[in-house]
């Protein structure tokens, strides 16, 4: 058995029945569980998975545990006098230090894994699956090695364990975190640029599969440096006496040169900062819309994350892009190639991106000669990326949405709360062109019209206008009508032909409402438009109900009118879609005509979209996609991949109590019982 292994086993043996070790581990499990519970509360609604939140919860607590576990591995040997026996054995200082280092590392790994089982077990008992974050745990182990080495170094330096622990804590916890908090406090405006605390950020980086070789090299160099210094401190023990001043000086010189070499290597590693991408990471689900865009597109798109790596948003952006690339590979349509360009370091690449029209702090998507920059304002969403891809891959002949005017309709170029500029911008992102249409001034609806939107007309359309609209619709046209009132001002006379008859809404007790006048809708019909929205909610401000018209009930054959309710509440329908074949005598090859009716004039106005969390925007976009034939639906109010815990308050408290108190206490008592049993037996 090699001396390293013997020393390693002895180090473990010393901790086996050590009451303080039990106490430290118990405190560690409880501490990490507290951090985890807090992080979950803060992180809910974000994109980090539970496993990653657990890993990042461990990051600040690990150096404390390492300091405690390593504090007496050498100092106790010195204080008790056992060091003499160790150093007179035919074992080198390096072997002794390595054995003790491995012993502490093993205890750290055991602590990390038991902490994982504490969290995993508690959540599994509550029927919540949590994936094991392999790479994040790897990052934690790499960090543990460094903390263990520093703890060991301090233990070799100081004769008293408490002094060693305090010195290790100062180096690994107090100084780095104090500097970080000071920087954040003094430069709050640069908080976004600085990103997260570098140690915690590394865990998240690794969790998303982006391995920074610079960081790994940094950890490795610092770990080796700490071990070299520890070995030198042990050697210095032999160099007592006046005559050994030269030996002590040479040992100190080695320590100094090691520090210089480590600093140079670290700065070089940070300067190069090469990253390695691993094909792992938390799974992410994309909406059917994104999937259909990726599957429907062909060719290659180059996506470049054009922002500093230290930026807080970099990680999330990279995570999203990588997941998108994986999804594209699985669907087999679009080929997505990724690049990460730091404007501070990758100067050549940054210049090229700028020349091509890319903007800093954005994701620059490029295909052939076309470039689209998606700004990363405060996080990047799946929808924006999918829309940008759609813009790049879509037919250059973009679809045009015509918004009627002249009857008091809501305007898409109005930017206040009553305008619809936000939804128009979403449409533009999806590749649509928004134009106004004055039916009184044109002979026919323009040929490039993909869809006519009648947004809250307050006055009736003239007969001529209705006739022009009818001609358009009977020729395979599509229309979205948002109703101001039950009289269906504007196009009221047209709607029954497409099976929809507006009626006044009746107040029903079971209706859910926030303000009294609005209506929260959570019941959706079985239709392509609403299928992805199930589980979300629509908010209509002054709803108008509707029911099938006589045409919907009486039609047959080619004149059969299809009526599908989309959104319901309290037995009433508040949005529906009507579909019928092309007009009698027309070419059968013509596509069917479709009309969607929403019983709220301004459900997609700026004020409503910003007011409360709702799926109104997605509902509108889905209707437009369905009517215009894009068939790319949006996945609901909350994007997939967003963390939501299916626990109520009581279950949360139960889970937290189990993780923070229950399991750590049980494990602590088990260790104490084992130690007592051993002690009693002996």
């Amino acid at each position: 058995m090699s001396p390293v292994r013997v020393t390693w086993l002895r180090t473990l043996g010393m901790a086996r029945n050590f009451y303080a070790t039990a106490l430290a581990l118990g405190a560690f499990w409880a501490g990490t569980a507290i951090c985890f519970c807090v992080n979950v509360e803060l992180g809910e609604g974000g994109r980090l998975a539970l496993g990653e939140l657990w890993a990042v919860s461990l990051s600040p607590v690990l150096p404390m545990l390492a300091s405690f576990l390593a504090m007496d591995v050498w100092s106790d040997e010195r204080l008790s006098g056992r060091a003499e026996l160790l150093l007179s054995a035919p074992v080198s200082e390096l072997e002794l230090v390595m054995g003790k280092f491995l012993g502490v590392c093993t205890m750290m790994a055991a602590a990390i894994l038991t902490s994982w089982f504490t969290v995993w077990g508690t959540l599994a008992a509550m029927d919540l699956e949590i994936d094991f974050p392999v790479l994040a745990v790897t990052a934690l182990l790499v960090q543990s090695a460094l903390w263990s080495a520093v703890g060991l170094m301090m233990s070799a330096r100081f004769r008293h364990a408490a002094a060693a622990a305090m010195a290790a804590l100062t180096v690994t916890v107090i100084i780095p975190r104090a500097l970080w908090f000071a920087a954040v406090s003094w430069l709050p405006e640069r908080r976004l640029e600085m990103g997260q605390m570098i140690l915690d950020a590394h865990v998240l980086d690794m969790a998303s599969g982006v391995v920074s070789t610079g960081m790994l090299l940094g950890y490795a160099v610092l770990t080796v440096l700490a071990l070299v210094i520890a070995v030198r401190y042990v050697m210095i023990l032999r160099f007592a006496g006046h005559s050994a001043r030269m030996y002590r000086r040479s040992a100190r010189l080695v320590i100094f040169l090691s520090i210089v070499a480590a600093a140079l290597t670290l700065s070089l590693a940070m300067r190069l900062n090469a990253t390695l991408e691993l094909p792992v990471g938390a799974a992410r689900e994309f909406s059917s819309r994104t999937r259909s865009i990726l599957a429907g597109a062909e060719g290659e798109v180059e996506a470049a994350a054009f922002l500093p790596r230290s930026d807080r948003r970099f990680r999330e952006t990279v995570f999203l892009l990588r997941a998108l690339k994986r999804e594209a590979e699985q669907t087999g349509g679009l080929k997505l190639s990724l690049k990460f360009v730091d404007p501070r370091w990758d100067l050549g690449e940054a210049e090229r991106l700028v020349r091509q029209g890319g903007k800093s702090e954005s994701v620059v998507l490029r295909r052939a000669r076309r470039t689209v920059s998606v700004p990363i304002a405060d996080g990047l969403g799946e929808r924006e990326l999918a829309s940008a891809i759609l813009q790049l891959v879509a037919n250059p002949h973009r679809k045009t949405v015509y918004w009627t005017e002249g009857h008091g309709e809501a305007e898409f170029d109005r930017y206040d709360v009553w305008g619809m500029s936000d939804i128009a911008r979403e449409l533009a992102r999806d590749g649509y062109v928004n134009r106004k249409l004055a039916l009184s001034k044109v002979e026919t609806v323009p040929e490039d019209c993909a869809l006519v939107v009648v947004a809250a007309a307050k006055t009736d359309f003239s007969r001529t206008e209705i006739a022009r609209l009818e001609t358009y619709l009977m020729g395979g046209g599509r229309m979205l009508a948002m109703l101001e009132n039950a009289e269906a001002a504007g196009v009221g006379s047209l709607l029954p032909m497409w099976g929809v008859k507006p009626v006044p809404a009746v107040a029903v007790k079971s209706n859910r409402t926030v303000s009294g006048s609005d209506l929260i809708i959570t019941e959706f019909g079985d239709h392509a438009i609403t299928e992805p929205l199930k589980g979300t909610q629509l908010i209509l401000d002054s709803p108008v109900a509707m029911q099938p018209s006589a045409a919907a009930e009486a039609g047959a054959g080619a004149d059969k009118v299809g009526y599908v309710p989309l959104a319901m509440s309290g037995g009433q329908t508040f949005a529906a879609v009507g579909e019928r074949g092309a007009g009698t005598g027309s070419d059968l090859a013509l596509r069917p005509t479709r009309v969607a009716v929403v019983g709220d004039a301004l459900f997609a106005m700026n004020g409503q979209l910003a007011a409360r969390k709702n799926a109104n925007c997605d509902f509108f976009l889905n209707i437009v996609a369905y009517l215009s034939g894009a068939d790319a639906m949006v996945g609901g109010g909350l994007e997939p991949g967003v963390l939501t815990l299916p626990f109520d308050r009581r279950e949360r408290i139960r889970a937290a109590a189990t993780m923070v108190v229950g399991v750590p206490l049980a494990l602590f008592l088990a260790m104490i019982a084992y130690a007592l049993k051993r002690s009693h037996r002996s």
Partner: protein
Amino acid sequence: MFEVRNISFGYTKTPILKDVSFVVSPGETVAITGANGCGKTTLMKLLATLLVPTSGQVSFDGKDALADTMWYRRQLGYLPERVALYEDMTVKEYLVYRARLKGELKRRIRRRVEDGLELMRLGDLQRRPIKNLSYGQQKRVALADAFLLRPRVVLLDDFMAALDAEMREAMPAILKEAAAFSAVVATGHETAEMNKWASRILTMENGKV
């Protein structure tokens, strides 16, 4: 042949040891005596390579101890003045651990440990945790450790201290048995007792032998 040649050493500028020289042949037991603080323990630490001399040389079989420290330590059995063992281990566990640490082959460890236990009459205590032993018993465990691998150089620093009368009586025979072919250097205070087990007695005074 174990040879100490002109060794000098001092913790400060004032030397504690001045040109100490002596030779110990295999099978010979040399006792070193002297007043408290005369430098016996420092000399033992120098011989055990726990300290580095200012000048002079320690050699065994013609090889400098500091030139090939690992080889030298493999030949060495050392009992420090202050015995400190791992208290959580039993006697047997401790001796197994020490044999492994010293690099003994796996197949020989059991035999070595049994011999050590028998030599120091620790058979009855082998399953006892060290923390439950008296200091004298712990010293016997440390002695068993020093003789464990049949070292060719044995350094025993004040080994008679804390041993009971029975063990003191038995020690000459034990030394004869365990270190029949070893060069033994031992320190102590009682010259009369040393006569029973030492081939030669060296006296240290003012840092000189």
